[in-house]
Amino acid sequence: MSVAAPRMRRARPASGILQPIATVLTVVLLLGVPFWLVISTAGKNQAEALNPNLTPPSEWQLFENFAQVFGDGRMVLGFFGSLLVMVPAVLGVLILGSMAAWILGRRSSRGLAVIYALAISGIVLPPAVVTIVLLLRQLGLAGTPIGMIGVYMGMYLSTVIFFVTGFVRTIPQELEEAARVDGAGPVKVFVRIILPLLMPVLATATILICLYIWNDVFYALFVVGGRLDTLPLNLYQVASAGLYLQNWHLIFAYIILMSLPLLLVFVFAQRKIISGITSGAVK
């Protein structure tokens, strides 16, 4: 900081060069090292990858490794299994959550206050992961995608209801009234007036919930482990199965491939994703 200020600006003088250097160093050390380890190891052969280190592979065979895990790790099945569970669960929580939030945001009574408190308690309380399995067995849904979708919906409805109820209260009643005067019933008012206005908050909720469901392995292990392929479940198998033990080049090749879908979405929509998440968090 004591370096002489080259210009007249009153701003911190040395930060002009120090800050970019510090930024680059931080990125290289905190992100560059782990990510280089992944990429370089994924490009090695088995012997070289046995002990993962930072030296580049003597001969890159990244795509051969990709091809191998693509088949062995059942990537295609895992990808579609993840989609099969995530898409209905997210659409379900958005629609059911918005419907409930509209009523909870507009009407008030002691009973509804209790229902609201219970409905948002799932934000904080952990799901009863063991007895969910028991219940699903009793319902005949154990190991099925429908059971998994139901479990995720039960977990994330609270988040949607919390976000959307707060948002509904900021929508002027007059907008609904106008439609009602024209003879629209509640369903029409909700679909035509409320739902479109909820889009910004629903976008934020979608991002967060997709992130959680797409990457979830804990609840998936209990509910559909061994019965359905999802990308994280297959990674768990790839990494813990004897077949791949210590085969770091294959584990890391799998990690690169499985991260690509979300990474691509993020690259193309990063501005929206980042502003969506921050607007939801700090208000």
Binding site: M1, R12, Q19, A22, T23, L31, V33, P34, L37, N51, P52, N53, L54, M99, A100, I103, L104, R106, R107, A119, G122, V124, P126, P127, A128, V129, V130, T131, L134, L139, G150, V151, M153, G154, L157, S158, F162, G166, F167, T170, P186, V189, F190, L211, N215, F218, P232, L235, A239, I251, F252, I255, M258, L262, F266, I274, I277, A281, V282, K283
Partner: protein, 294 residues
């Protein structure tokens, strides 16, 4: 608000609540109630029937020390993650505060771990932290001597290392929230402080930190809750070891469930539920307040 008291009820019919409530009851509340029932049974994969055994599960888990250990580990882990994640998050936010092109790119880069699978992050660091792994390689290069620290093999310090890995994964999210918080501080306040001759540190400590309070509360609360429910990163790095030093409640639940000891797993699940419930009251009160602001 009450200009049209009549008709307001059918304008917002209660049946709109029903689908969401049905899903919540079936998939959230009923299993939670089951938790309070099956924790007191001998439900396991080795028997066909299920009988009540009273507090036997609690007693055996308590006397074997597993219960206390898992509770302690989970709490320590949660506190460590809350501290590290926020220190990293604030540090990154301050470093990348200015809207330069380089900073914007770095912010995006630090968000990549957030969107990655936590399990994948765990495996990456398992490789990085091996005794013959890359971190020791770098340390050896810097110090000029052979370094072979078993980062994941120490019964005392490994929990700290794993908490740092957890914080590494989520620090990009904390950073974003702190950046948004820093943006809300008006330039006039900072200018006034500077005219009064406040140093960078004084400005930070006495002006910016207090104004960041909402962001800090949010970040600490989410970090605590997220890490109390933690599983993936610990499973992928240590699987609860060495010697149970990083055995979170969820790791124990997963392991005993896999062994077919369903009642014991349920008991621990109930313990987790009770622990979070007790600790969550301040969090819920905070969320309520936030929602009033919204």
């Amino acid at each position: 608000m009450s200009s049209r008291p009549r008709g307001r009820r059918q304008d917002h019919p209660l049946w709109f609540l029903l689908p969401a409530l049905a899903v919540l009851v079936i998939f959230f509340f009923v299993p939670t109630i089951f938790n309070f029932v099956y924790a007191f049974t001998d439900w396991s994969s080795f028997k066909s029937g299920i009988g009540f055994v009273g507090f036997d599960n609690f007693v055996s888990l308590f006397t074997s020390g597993t219960l206390v250990n898992a509770l302690r580990v989970t709490l320590v882990y949660a506190v460590l993650v809350a501290v590290f994640q926020n220190v990293f998050g604030i540090a990154l936010a301050l470093l990348l505060e200015k809207d330069t092109r380089l900073n914007r790119a770095a912010r995006v880069a630090f968000f990549v771990p957030v969107i990655m699978s936590a399990l994948a992050v765990g495996y990456i660091f398992q490789a990085l932290l091996k005794p013959e792994g890359a971190l020791n390689e770098i340390l050896g290069f810097v110090t000029g001597t052979e370094v072979s620290i078993a980062w994941l093999g120490d019964t005392t310090w490994t929990i700290v290392v794993v908490a740092i890995v957890h914080s590494w994964k989520w620090m990009g999210l904390s950073m974003l929230i702190y950046l948004a918080g820093l943006k809300t501080i008006s330039a006039d306040v900072l200018e006034a402080g500077r005219l009064d001759g406040a140093s960078w540190w004084q400005t930070f400590r006495h002006i910016r930190m207090p104004l960041l309070a909402p962001a800090i509360t949010f970040n600490v609360a989410t970090a605590l809750l997220g890490s109390m429910n933690g599983f993936d990163i610990v499973q992928a790095t240590t699987e609860g070891g060495p010697g149970g030093a990083t055995e979170l409640l969820n790791i124990f639940i997963f392991r005993t469930f896999g062994q077919g000891l369903f009642a014991q797993a349920t008991t621990m699940s109930l313990v987790l539920f009770l622990m979070v419930t007790i600790l969550a009251f301040p969090v819920i009160r905070f969320l309520r307040k936030r929602e009033d602001v919204l």
